[in-house]
Symmetry: C2
Subunit: 346 residues, 2 copies
């Protein structure tokens, strides 16, 4: 489409700073004839403190009108743990049915990794986004007493598992190596494990050209540090995906360069793109935050909206920039954004 109507949620901490650079690069990459409209939303800690609201029905109605959402980061130590996570981030993922949580991990030349050697890393995690232990099912009895019992219920449906497994197979098929790994813990979580494993085998039969394997989540963390090159596409549950994508980000250059998309492939609702990192209040307002993860999230956003050439231009600019950055003194948030904007415009 020749116009992009974007909801922008800068959020808390470094969110503001990195989103500004993401938009700078987005404006620079778009051809003249693609009209970019953006609207800012003030979700996050400030609004919560001022009004007690995290995300209302009216907010959802407003967000729904946009083509996509760009988010910086949400979260602040002044807000009790869980309030913004459950009340905003997860509420939005669930309300807009963002069932494909897409998290690519690629170790780019010039980027430092905590791993010895310089292993080749280039895989994508497809994390389920609307089920598993994230549903908020569960509860507490006898709270605060010595007889308290708290439960958390992981909910897994054939519908929910199958659609994300299908999405992952399609992504694996479109990549050169065509390999898909299911990560779960089916030897202990046997109810959910059976559903995931069976669904995976069933869909695999429709993709004979995709190589498949299965790894327990605990073993997956070992491979991520000893042999990350073995992975091409991974599909996994919401919680396992949360855990292994932070590790994946760490080994492939850190959360400063890790992008993610909360995608609803049906496009009934706008998808949301955000860096994997949080609001990092300790370095907020100092111009120190690396906007690269946000810029790469903008690339995911563009690809989702069908602007593949522009997405590739951004990714190439980031690669070139990182390859050169090595020996240079550290740059500020906006210096990095300027450098990337200049590259994609050129």
């Amino acid at each position: 489409s020749r116009s992009i109507d974007l909801a922008v949620i800068p959020g808390d901490g470094i969110g503001q700073e990195v989103v500004a650079e993401g938009l700078k690069v987005l404006s620079a990459v778009l051809p003249q004839d693609v009209k970019l409209e953006t609207k800012d939303y003030d979700f996050g800690a400030r609004r919560y403190h001022a009004t007690g609201e995290t995300l209302t029905e009216a907010d959802l109605d407003a967000l729904k009108q946009h083509d996509a959402i760009l988010l910086g980061a949400i979260g602040d130590p002044s807000v009790p743990s869980g309030v913004l996570e459950r009340g905003f981030l997860l509420k939005l993922r669930f309300a807009f049915d963002h069932h494909v949580n897409l998290r690519p991990s690629k170790l780019l030349p010039g980027v430092a990794t905590p791993l010895a050697g310089q292993p080749e890393i280039d895989f994508v995690v497809v994390r389920e986004g609307t089920e598993g232990p994230y549903t908020g099912n569960g509860g507490t009895i006898r709270k605060g007493t010595e007889h308290e019992v708290a439960t958390e219920v992981s909910v897994n449906t054939a519908f929910g598992v199958e659609r994300v497994v299908r999405d992952a197979f399609a992504r694996a098929q479109a990549r050169p190596r065509k390999k898909l790994t299911l990560v779960h813990k089916n030897n202990v979580l046997t109810f959910a494990g059976h559903l995931w494993t069976n669904t995976f085998s069933k869909v695999a039969a429709e993709y004979p050209d995709v190589t498949t394997d299965y790894i327990h989540v605990d073993a997956a963390t070992i491979y991520l540090v000893t042999d990350p090159g073995r992975f091409d596409v991974i599909v996994t549950d919401n919680l396992f995906g949360d855990i292994i994508t932070d590790l994946a980000a760490a080994v492939s250059g850190g959360i400063g360069v890790a992008a993610s998309g909360n995608i609803n492939p049906s496009r009934d609702f706008p998808s949301m793109f955000e860096p994997v990192h949080g609001s990092a209040p300790d370095i907020a307002g100092q111009g120190k935050a690396d906007p690269t993860a946000t810029v790469l999230s903008v690339a995911l956003l563009l690809r989702h909206l069908g602007h593949d050439a522009e997405a590739a231009r951004i990714e190439d600019a980031v690669s070139a920039d990182l390859a050169e950055r090595g020996g240079l003194p550290a740059r500020s948030t906006s210096q990095i954004g300027d450098a990337l904007a200049a590259r994609v415009a050129g």
Copy 2:
């Protein structure tokens, strides 16, 4: 006590080989006047195929008579996933109330780590062993249909959380750095998270000399590869503990040297000690398996039974052996066992 009555479960795959070396070192380290009695049990894949049994009430009664249990490894590809895990390993942990799952991680000199540099790593994970998502609560409806729903219920009780948190505080207090980190996901799993976080704060008040902090499990995987030296003692939930201890083993020398104890501190039931690795059927019977993890598990067993001097002798022997092993050609399972036995005897 001046005698040790040990149940020995060699199990499957390399279990047989590594347990033999563990017992060799145990015999060598014990003073003449400590009588060692062992009884072998044939649990695992062979028995399951022959009889359909994994662990009967009679088995539990027999095991209960011993002072402790030494396990090699259980599991074989010929047995459907989950059968031996739920039917033997977890059944035993639950039956004997092994609520402290103790997993030390120490990067010893001469040991290769996948991490760049040679970071200092010396921490212990206290993993809860009898609750969380491991309880087997949950179920499936409409199995095999497109309307299947599978649930897994994480059960967390004040009783269960408090006892393991107390155990971890006591262990932290006994270590030079006196630092304890709670790992959970309390911003998403708010019911269980609240119970864990509140219990942790409450018990912390009784240990003013122990420094505490809290980290989300996803962030913990990042620190484990970028700054593992920040950890001293970690206390965590059963599933998070499963995941992060495999990662911890990987960064501190691999599962070839990772020991564990399934401990019931009350001693109402025997505790069980086992290497973190599995039965590794691909290398079984070839004399290639590294018995070091089993030998270190024997050290944990001795310490649990009050033989601290002997435990320390084994740990010192392992350190010395690993420090020397570097340039040498690979040794067989029994060569390593012989070398360690010679050191502890000397």
